[in-house]
């Protein structure tokens, strides 16, 4: 197994005709992802290297039956594209777009919940999802990862590569790598993805990479204590970030005394999650736990 994307993925891409959209779509197809179409209003009937382009998500659904949508359109069109894909019945929407207004994200989150509870949104402002050896949807550089038993969930793209690569160098692979994105209102939070990893047979250890801002890590800590029996190793970025300053990600901001890295690390440690002080240390802890598991196995 693995979670969210695999051999059964049928991907369609909003913004496939754009420069970045086409580049990454073709990259994903080269990896083996089944790309069944693209959506660009006004460009229906064209194709991108053989991938048919449709005018709307409804049309894409009728003709190509995608079960996964990737959103690559500019911020001002992204919210409507996500909702249109959901209305057409797409089960998983992965939004790469960065810079979507927070109020749009709020509207999307609450509309999905009310009108399209069958659709799961990952992102926006995320690098996508990779299940090594099976499918890659997004911009994660797949060459650094191989198939294995570590599930990774992260608010940051490059930090995921940093930690995942160190685990790979130690000889371990990943079941799935999920980037949930750095925005204030992500479609899915740590808890949503932890739930999937906890139920996934392939995943034996989970790496959670968080950062300052909001309380998703604290909520994850509570969830892990109550519902996750698999080992979880965490890393939190932003200990030196000053309050009130947005650190790159729209959601990475300490507001007053809320959302500090120290409070997040403490919440996780108090519930038995080991937290690495550096990305390297987090990877080392993961490798240590995995090594221990294989030694004690019969």
């Amino acid at each position: 197994m693995s979670i969210l994307v695999d051999e059964r993925t049928r991907l369609a891409v909003a913004g496939i005709t754009g420069r970045e959209g086409s580049f990454h779509t073709l990259n994903n197809r080269r990896y083996g992802t089944n790309v069944v179409g693209g959506v660009t209003p006004g460009k229906g009937g064209q194709d991108v290297e053989g991938i048919p382009v449709f005018d709307s998500w409804a049309q894409a659904m009728t003709d190509a039956q995608p079960n996964t949508a990737m959103i690559f359109v500019p911020p001002r069109f992204a919210a409507d594209s996500i909702l249109e894909a959901a209305a057409a019945g797409v089960e998983l929407v992965i939004a790469i777009t960065e810079g979507i207004p927070a109020h749009d994200e709020l509207r999307v989150y609450n509309t999905l919940k009310r009108d399209h509870p069958g659709t799961r949104l990952i992102g926006p402002n995320c690098p996508g999802i990779l299940s090594p050896g099976k499918a890659n949807v997004g911009i994660i550089p797949a060459s650094f990862f191989k198939e294995g038993n570590v599930g990774v969930v992260s608010r940051s793209g490059t930090l995921t590569y940093q930690i995942g690569n160190e685990i790979a160098r130690a000889g371990f692979g990943c079941s799935t790598i999920v980037g949930i994105g750095g925005d204030p209102v992500p479609g899915s939070s740590f808890v949503d993805v932890l739930e999937l990893f906890a139920a996934d047979e392939q995943t034996e250890l989970i790496v959670l990479s968080g950062e300052i801002g909001g309380s998703a890590e604290e909520e994850a800590a509570e969830y892990i204590a109550e519902h996750v029996s698999k080992p979880v190793v965490a890393y939190i970025a932003g200990f030196t970030a000053p309050a009130g300053k947005q650190m790159g990600h729209a959601g990475a901001i300490v507001s007053g005394s809320a959302g500090t890295a120290a409070a997040k690390a403490r919440a996780l440690e108090e519930r038995g999650v080991r937290v690495g002080r550096t990305p390297t240390e987090a990877a080392e802890i993961a490798v240590e736990v995995l090594g221990g598991a294989s030694v004690s196995a019969p």
Binding site: R76, G99, I100, P101, A102, H103, D104, L106, R107, Y109, N110, T111, R114, P127, I139, I140, P141, S143, S154, R155, S156, G157, T158, L159, T160, Y161, Q162, N165, G182, P184, V185, S209, E211, G213, G214, S215, A216, Y235, A237, G238, F239, T240, A241, P242, G244, K245, Q246, M247, G248, H249, A250, G251, A252, G256, S257, A261, R277, T278, P279, T280
Partner: protein, 390 residues
């Protein structure tokens, strides 16, 4: 994007919230003139993006022209917790019977707008939340429905507002919600929301944060950024489209990806160093953008050493190397004899390292890992020498 009090009040007025008449000024003479226009007594208020200005002496009541002159002279140029006062808000003084608190914000945890109301206004609301949470009403709004007047009146009643002003408070809450919604704010706060002896409900202060990602919908709000009080380097970075935050240390940092850069700051601090900035060169940076970023980092005179921490995904190691080489060629980055430590991993890392080695830039050192890079740059900033020239 945080707004100054007077800018927030302009937005309030736009959506029907009652505020006192006033005027923003930048000179003592301007203050005197404004006071004459709004009518005595007036309040002279420092406009800074930081709390605690009252205690710092930045808010003063003036009964006549000479008092306005004295207070304006004292407050203009005053340093309030690191923020220089360049603008004053001269407002007609209000008579206050009662002070309440009201705010609307984006609750990231609940993923809903949160309306908060308390009859304990005029004090630090975090303290009220801590010491007497029952006095702070927290009410989540369905963002697809909005806040109705009836709902708002319920919040006011539940919070213990005086019965004769429940309607007035409800009007204020609905208007505040409209400010939050229509202006794409992440926070709209009034503390205090006052009731006058005439039982009028008014916003005496305003704290508004706007979502920078939504500014394209609000061209009229673009100019509200407090550019005068903004750090000049941060302003330049914004104009160049670079994610840059100035910090207090002496080690310049460049990385790709917000998470990795935040992590790099932490690892440098753990190694005993002090970062001079956060700089995310972003995904897919080309040589030109890297060069620009180097210029920005070196424009901060405090920088004694620079760390490049790159894990290439979309960003290619060879482009980063070319950018650094171009920075040395074009702007003489090496001329300032500031040492660089470069850690390149990921896409095209081998090519990038080869380019740097061939260029043999003076005082550029290669590091194998992030932790090693941090230790090297901390030693170099302290004036120690390290091995391994790139």
């Amino acid at each position: 994007m945080d707004l100054l009090e007077y800018q927030g009040k302009e937005l309030f007025a736009r959506h029907g919230l009652r505020v006192s008449s006033g005027k923003a000024v930048t000179t003592v003479d301007g203050a005197v003139e404004a006071a004459g226009e709004v009518g005595y007594p007036v309040v002279v208020k420092a406009q800074v993006l930081i709390g605690g200005r009252g205690k710092a002496g930045g808010v003063k009541l003036a009964a006549d022209e000479s008092e306005v002159r004295t207070h304006a002279q004292n407050i203009l140029g005053m340093d309030i917790h690191g923020h220089t006062v360049r603008t004053l808000w001269i407002e007609h003084a209000s008579d206050i019977a009662t002070e309440y608190y009201a705010s609307v914000l984006l609750d990231r945890s609940a993923k809903k707008p949160l309306v908060m109301f308390s009859v304990e206004g005029g004090v630090d609301i975090e303290q009220v939340a801590e010491e007497s949470p029952e006095k702070l009403i927290r009410h989540h709004v369905d963002p697809l429905e909005g806040l109705s007047h009836e709902e708002a009146a319920g919040i006011a009643t539940e919070g213990g507002a005086d019965a004769d002003v429940v309607e007035g408070v409800a009007d204020a809450l609905v208007a505040l919600y409209e400010v939050w919604l229509q202006e794409d704010a992440t926070l709209a706060e009034i503390n205090p929301l006052i009731v006058t002896p005439e039982r009028e409900v008014k916003a005496l202060d305003a704290k508004v944060s706007l979502d920078g990602n939504a500014l394209y919908r609000h061209p009229e709000n673009q100019s509200l950024a407090d550019s005068e009080n903004e750090d000049p380097l941060e302003r330049r970075a914004k104009e160049e489209g670079v994610q840059y935050v100035k910090l207090d240390g002496d080690i310049g940092i460049l990385g790709n990806g917000a998470g990795l850069v935040m992590s790099t700051l932490d690892v440098v601090a753990q190694a005993g160093g002090s970062p001079a900035n956060f700089l995310d060169a972003g995904g897919g940076s080309d040589a030109e953008k890297i060069k620009q970023a180097v210029e920005l980092i070196l424009a901060n005179d405090a920088v004694k050493a620079v760390l490049f921490n790159i894990f290439g995904g979309i960003t290619r190691g060879d482009e980063v190397a070319r950018g650094l080489i171009a920075a040395f060629d074009d702007i003489g980055a090496g001329g300032k004899s500031i040492p660089f430590v470069v850690r390149l991993d990921g896409t095209n890392d081998v090519e990038g390292r080869r380019l740097l080695q061939e260029a043999a830039l003076p005082n550029v050192h290669a590091a194998e890992t992030m932790n090693e890079a941090a230790e090297m740059v901390v030693a170099l900033a302290a004036g120690d020498s390290v091995g391994a020239q790139a």
